[in-house]
Structure formats: structure tokens, C-alpha cells
Point group: C2
Chain length 211, copies 2
């Protein structure tokens, strides 16, 4: 038995994966880094970026503060690295064959994210924080916004290719319509939605696109 992971008291999960060392930057490789990252996002959702203290993150992760400072030089660097890490692997592409299917899948993905505990609190928080923090705004725009925008434009272009949308469809407006109403309802107004809400929203969106 070459690798017997010692029972870490603060990481009760049975992580049997081989611990791999990172040569470059530490990006969620070993179990300590994983525990720190998980604690970071929990803490971020609980108190927000401004109030987030690395001391609380360390305690929550069952780690020492030195373990954090050994990996990232500051809170901002840590945030940027971790956000970027989770942003890249959240980019699967779907092609359901129809515009309606693609739109519904797109909305379902947003809906799922904004209903989860951590993202629904973290996303508005980082959004507000990026208004004061250029570096944070930068990574959010490049790693998150551009990825999502790419998916949306791909969705529209496929529909144009299929002939489901006119070639001169107003892409700028369509992008805002795709995510705007749902984000408004789930993240801003925060009122409950009927079970068929996404279906009705999809229908209205298709009508608006075609107009």
C-alpha cells in the first residue's frame, strides 16, 4: 500500500486520490489546498469578500494561517486564483439541435447556479466588489463573463446557421435578453418562480429574438 492518507481531523472526506504536488501555482491539487479552497468559498458566501478574514478561512479549513500564506501572497491573489480555477471548468457546450432547446439549456444552467447556496451569494458579492477592485473585475470579466458570453453568442450563431433566426439579428440585445430577465428575478428581486417559469421565459425570448 504505497499511499495511506493519514486521517486528517478537519478533512473527514475519504479522499483516496493520490496527492499530487503542483510545480507552478497551487490550484486545488493536494488535500490541504482543497480544504482551504472549500473553506474559502464557504466563508466568502457567509460574510462576503470585504469581511472575509484569512484567519477564519484557516480555522474553517482546519489549517494554519501559514498554510495559506505559503500558497498565495494575499487575499486578493488567493481570490483571483481560486475564482479563475472554478471558472474554467464550468464551460461545457451544449448543442441540442434547436434554438429552443439551446435557450432552455442555457437558462437551466443559470437557474441551477443561482439557486445553489454558494454561487447565489458569492456572485452578487464579487460583482459589487469588482466595482471597487480593478484586479478582481479583470478576472471576472475575462474568466467568467467572456466564457459565458462566448457560449451565448455560439448559441445565437448556431440558430442563424439553422435558419431559426435572421442573419441580422441584434446580437447585442439578444445577449442581454438571454440572461437579464432570469438574473433579475433570481438574483435581484429574489421572488419565487412557478415550475414552468423557464418554459414561459424561453417562449417569450424566442418571440423577442424573432421580432
Amino acid at each position: 500500500m504505497p499511499n495511506t492518507p493519514a486521517p486528517r481531523p478537519a478533512t473527514p472526506g475519504p479522499s483516496e486520490q493520490p496527492v499530487r504536488r503542483t510545480p507552478g501555482g497551487p490550484v486545488l491539487q493536494d488535500s490541504v489546498t482543497e480544504a482551504i479552497a472549500a473553506a474559502f468559498f464557504e466563508e466568502l458566501a457567509d460574510v462576503g469578500y470585504a469581511r472575509l478574514s484569512l484567519e477564519a478561512v484557516a480555522k474553517r479549513a482546519g489549517a494554519g494561517k501559514a498554510a495559506i500564506y505559503r500558497r498565495w501572497p494575499s487575499k486578493l491573489d488567493m481570490t483571483v486564483a481560486l475564482i479563475r480555477a472554478v471558472a474554467v471548468d464550468a464551460s461545457e457546450i451544449e448543442d441540442t439541435g434547436t434554438l429552443r432547446g439551446d435557450v432552455l439549456a442555457f437558462l437551466t444552467e443559470i437557474d441551477g447556479a443561482l439557486r445553489h447556496r454558494l454561487p447565489s451569494k458569492i456572485i452578487p458579492d464579487l460583482l459589487a466588489e469588482s466595482g471597487r477592485n480593478p484586479e478582481l473585475a479583470q478576472v471576472l470579466m475575462t474568466a467568467v463573463r467572456d466564457t459565458r458570453r462566448g457560449k451565448a453568442t455560439g448559441l445565437l450563431e448556431r440558430a442563424v446557421d439553422r435558419g431559426e433566426l435572421p442573419a441580422d439579428v441584434d446580437r447585442e440585445l439578444a445577449l442581454d435578453f438571454l440572461a437579464g430577465p432570469l438574473y433579475w428575478r433570481l438574483a435581484v428581486v429574489r421572488t419565487a418562480t412557478a415550475p414552468d417559469y423557464l418554459d414561459r421565459l424561453t417562449d417569450k425570448l424566442l418571440a423577442a429574438f424573432a421580432a
Copy 2:
């Protein structure tokens, strides 16, 4: 001359209005309260609610901390009171006579607010903060959301009365469409808009409503 306002060094504005005392809660009546409120919003936009320190507000207002604690018992109470105060007077109603005119006026109002320095930073910040602060969420929902929602529903009902919209128009979706795309573009994605953006947006909205 019954009232000669002494030249306060920290309030250089020529406020010639008669200083009136508030019997109930202090709501922007005398010059000191005004200075504190102004400093509060400036500070709130600069550093956000979480990082806002009453010490900084007092310094910015050219006031002592005691002047603040004499008016409000805590940072949260102060925030709630001031937000409520500015929320009530931001509710004029417009009836342009046509649905298109009403929608464009509604969008123009949001557009104006989200382009100003203070609201564009304060609104997303308080929104994120209200996810962790029930009392703050309460005042935002009742004093801001409900007011705005009332204006939007009034807009829709007038259009139904005029015959511009079918009586069974999906109000729930329509409300999300009214504010969602514009908020998404101005407050979330934060990309520049063409001068005719509001016009195009209005057209698309009307098309979606009618569908």
C-alpha cells in the same frame, strides 16, 4: 434677523434654508444631518457597506462620531433610515399616453440611475449585502422593490386599459423583461451601449410583450 446660520467650516454649501428640528427620527433636516448623510453615501459608494466605518463617515462629514451616535444607534439603523429616506422621494409616476412612451421613460429612469456614480456602486453593494442582512433586505424590498414594482405594474395595467396589451399578458414575465436586460447590461456586464440602445430595447420589449 432671527436665524443667521453660522458658517460651518465643513459644510461650505450655501444652505440658507431654515434649520428645522425633527421630533421623531432625524431625517435630513439640519445641516449636520445633511452633511453626515452625504458623507455616508459617498463612503458607502467608495468602500461598500461591509467596510464602511462610522469613523470615516464622521471625518468625511467634518463631524464627531458622537454626532452620529446621537442620531442613530448603529450602522445598520443609520443605513436603513437613510436608504428609506432617499427611496421614498424617488417615486414620480409618468403616464406618457402610450405603452412605448411609458416603457422608454421607465428604462430612461433606470438608465439614469445606474449611470450615476453613487447609485451604480451602492445598489449592487446593498443587494449583495442584503443576502446576509435580513433587516437590510427588508427595507430594500419594501421601500425600493415594491415601489418600483408598483410603477411597473401600473405601466402594464394602463397599457391593458388602452388596449395596447392583451388582458391576459403575463405580468410576471413582463416585469422581469422590463428591468432585467437593462440591469444586466449596466450593472452586471458593464459594457458600453450605443446611443440608440434604449430605443432598440424598447422595441424588443414591446415585441416580447405582445407575443
